[in-house]
């Protein structure tokens, strides 16, 4: 178990920046996210494209970070880059993304804002968090358990 201070401090700095970014961009506001997803408002001029600006800016920074990591064999505080090894477009990926899409469209909440909203504790947030946990736990029984089996399916 890696519990050295620099490693945990990096996780703390990253989490803090992420939470700060969710507040500054107002992606903590489920209603603002829903106003992005409401494309029917485009013809009337009521559409809010903010979410696209958030995600494109974040991708741009991360793109540079990945370029930098290509020239390095290890991250600063661990022995390896834990790059996802799955490559194949398999049924769980497609079905999972579709089910998440329904949930996201119903609530305007994805997992990041779900956690960061604990800071503001709106009504029914606990219901969402418990359901998120149960859904995630149930999902673990549907996909092949164990890293090797999952890898064999999706590599």
């Amino acid at each position: 178990m890696n519990i050295r201070l620099p490693y945990l401090a990096t996780a703390a700095v990253s989490g803090t920046l992420f939470g700060s970014g969710l507040y500054v961009s107002q992606m903590v506001d489920p209603l603002k996210v829903l106003r992005f997803l409401d494309f029917t408002a485009i013809p009337t001029g009521g559409w809010d494209p903010s979410l696209a600006f958030v995600i494109v800016a974040a991708i741009a920074v991360m793109f540079v970070a990945f370029r930098i990591s290509r020239g390095r064999s290890t991250p600063l505080f661990d022995k390896q880059f834990h790059e996802p090894e799955f490559k194949k477009i398999d049924a769980p990926l497609v079905a999972g993304a579709a089910l998440f899409g329904i949930g996201w469209g119903m609530s305007g909440i994805c997992p990041g804002p779900a956690i960061s909203l604990v800071a503001f504790w709106p009504d029914s947030l606990l219901v969402f968090l418990v359901a998120l946990f149960i859904g995630s736990y149930a999902g673990a029984f549907v996909i092949p358990s164990g890293h090797e089996k999952r890898l064999a399916m999706a590599r």
């Binding site: 990096t10 920046l17 970014g21 500054v24 497609v94 469209g105 997992p111 009504d123």
Partner: protein
């Protein structure tokens, strides 16, 4: 505040990108919130950093709402945050609507290996084919869901 806000959106996006860059270059980990959250149980060897990250995520949101108050919802200068109410035509109570959305989000991100952060930010930046497919699907389905339910 329901207007388009390009400057806070860009600034917030840069912070989220920086957060992901720090975790990747520092610890070699993908900043995927559904994964960080969804692998808390059963407690694996990685549970400590996951908990540290999630607690910091909440504190980062809270502290920033005091440092830069009034951007929208939350904090001392903002309107109270609220979750979406179900469309009246469905006749479903708000907690049940939110609970169903939470179950679908938890289950879907688990079997699909990621959400808006893991696939949407990190996966696209890695030029992962799986992430491009996942992002295309969940954005399209979410937009369709909003259109059909008329929730906005």
């Amino acid at each position: 505040m329901d207007a388009f806000s390009p400057i806070p959106a860009l600034a917030g996006g840069l912070l989220i990108g920086l957060a992901s860059a720090v975790l990747w270059l520092g610890n070699g980990r993908i900043t995927g919130i559904s994964g960080i959250f969804g692998q808390l149980l059963p407690p694996a060897r990685t549970v400590v950093w996951r908990l540290v990250f999630l607690v910091a995520l909440v504190l980062g949101t809270l502290v920033t709402s005091y440092l830069v108050p009034g951007l929208g919802v939350g904090g001392p200068g903002g309107e109270p945050a609220q979750l979406a109410a179900p469309p009246a035509s469905f006749g479903i109570s708000p907690p049940i609507w939110i609970g169903i959305a939470g179950l679908l989000t938890g289950f879907g991100t688990k079997i699909g290996n990621g959400c808006t952060s893991g696939h949407g930010v990190c996966g696209i930046a890695r030029l992962s084919t799986r992430s491009f497919v996942a992002v295309g699907i969940f954005f399209a389905v979410a937009i369709l869901t909003v259109t059909i339910t008329g929730i906005v």
